[in-house]
């Protein structure tokens, strides 16, 4: 899956959007990793107030609220994910993960320049990178950029363009707040990768001149 790679937005906006992925590999270090995958959440709990969202590969059906961290500490998982809006908090978390020496692969999705910098500052070196070369083909089928920025926060594509536009209408009509709309959209993202903080800001921008 490449569900955190193609997040859209300006460099300034992407400064508030980093995904941390903790991934065990089938046939190599997945077997026997159960306790390490749980321990990951013990580390993440030190940063709970700094996290925008988090989860694992099991669906979160809690109505747009983040997973319960205590439940995740007990859950079997092969992939854990968390969204940070502050790269310095991510750096501190990454350093703690490094010190715990879990031996599980860690992937950071976000601005490469910043990722490289924080790695260097804590004694890590990027090993492999996945570059996004953008969107191609019949681009006339795509909605405006603001909608794409929200939609691509769920790389599985299950936060529909039409629902984002519907939420914009609902906000403009005074039926729902930007925060509530961001939460409703987040509910559809099973993995906990949706950045509700950024989505709320984008919705506010889209509805500023109602």
């Amino acid at each position: 899956m490449t569900h955190s790679l193609h997040r859209r937005g300006s460099v300034e906006d992407l400064h508030e959007d980093y995904v941390l992925l903790f991934y065990s590999s089938k046939g190599i270090n997945r077997e026997g990793s159960e306790e390490k995958m749980k321990q990951f959440w013990h580390v993440l709990s030190h940063y709970e107030q700094d996290l925008v969202n988090f989860g694992n590969h099991h669906p979160n059906r809690s109505g747009g609220e983040p997973y319960n961290m205590e439940d995740l500490k007990k859950a079997k998982s092969q992939m854990n994910m968390a969204v940070f809006k502050d790269v310095e908090k991510l750096k501190a978390c990454l350093q703690e993960i490094k010190e715990r020496d879990f031996g599980i692969s860690v992937v950071v999705s976000g601005l490469y320049g910043e990722t490289k910098r924080i790695c260097s500052e804590i004694g890590l070196a990027p090993h492999t990178v996945n570059l996004s070369l953008g969107i191609h083909g019949k681009k006339g089928k795509l909605p405006e950029e603001n909608v794409l920025e929200i939609h691509t926060m769920c790389g599985h594509g299950v936060v529909p363009f039409n629902l984002i536009l519907h939420m914009v209408q609902e906000i403009k009509a005074g039926k729902i707040s930007c925060k509530e709309a961001a939460k409703k959209l987040s509910r559809l993202c099973d993995c906990g990768l949706f950045n509700t903080y950024r989505a709320e800001k984008i919705l506010r921008k889209m509805t500023a001149n109602k």
Binding site: M1, T2, H3, S4, L5, H6, L14, D17, L21, Y23, S25, K26, I28, R61, K98, D101, G103, I104, S105, V106, V107, V108, G110, L111, Y112, G113, T115, K116, C119, L124, A125, P126, H127, T128, V129, N130, L131, S132, L133, G134, I135, H136, G137, K138, K139, K141, L142, P143, L148, H151, G155, H156, G157, V158, P160, F161, N162, L163, L188, D190
Partner: protein, 244 residues
């Protein structure tokens, strides 16, 4: 997905929840009710359990038979692929490259994410891209669930019975030597004008010790502008893969 017209109240709450806009209001026995266009529906389940939006539980998923069942396997992130017995539409790609060594120095990984973002793709469009890539010598990833859709991976030809299907996304995934990459990227650019959908393009590479990325210049030469945000494996996995 289907809507039980006996139960549907025609409230239209479900309409914006369809990623491919397949739900519309129709007249049925004197009432306005919602209906799902079966040609367009990709069986992603967003209008169903993921959203839980229907107030009268009129939306349901019937048992899907092959080849329609592939729509769910490629569109619903929670569906398990029968061929790989895992969730997801691709391989572990670079997420675990520090322990798998899937991509060695000098080798690029390419993924053409057909239908993304948010548009969906017909299998016919996916075949068009796959055949164009096969002509420049690409060998598709065997562990990717797309492999079960192909009649001949050497030509990129898909099985005839799947060509009428549509999915939210599928990934054409392969590895190629860095020195053959420019030609492949150029072919991808050319074929992008021959399809009725969009795709997002991924390019994987090992990072040099100084943090530079060898394929960056090749991508730019082929006319692509890599975005500033990436996915980066930071090398914490163990046991670390060692190149011979």
């Amino acid at each position: 997905m289907r809507i039980d017209k006996e139960k549907c109240t025609g409230c239209e709450l479900c309409h914006p929840y369809c990623p491919v806009g397949a739900i519309a209001t129709v007249e049925w026995e004197g009432n306005s009710v919602s209906e799902i266009d079966q040609g367009e529906c990709v069986e992603c389940g967003t209008c169903f359990k993921r959203s839980g939006i229907c107030p009268v539980d009129a939306i349901y998923m019937p048992k899907l038979e092959w080849p329609r069942s592939l729509r769910e396997h490629f569109s619903n992130p929670n569906a398990e692929h029968p061929s790989t017995t895992t969730q997801g539409r691709g391989t572990e790609e670079m997420k675990s490259n520090d322990v798998t060594g899937r991509y060695s120095p000098g080798i690029a990984g390419v993924a053409v994410e057909m239908g993304r973002p948010g548009v969906g793709t017909s299998l016919r469009d996916a075949e068009t891209v796959a055949m164009a890539l096969a002509k420049v010598g690409v060998e598709f990833e065997e562990d990717n669930p797309v492999s079960i859709l192909m009649a001949d991976p050497k030509t990129g030809k898909f099985k005839e019975e799947v060509l009428g299907e549509k999915v939210l996304s599928l990934i054409l995934e392969f590895k190629i030597e860095n020195d053959r990459l420019e030609r492949v990227l150029t072919r991808i650019r050319e074929v992008s004008t021959q399809i009725d959908t969009v795709f997002s393009l991924d390019l994987i590479n090992r990072v040099n010790p100084d943090g530079t990325i060898p394929v960056m210049a090749i991508a730019e030469k082929a006319g692509f502008s890599p975005r500033p945000n990436t996915k980066t494996n930071v090398g914490l996995g163990k046991p670390r893969f060692r190149e011979v």
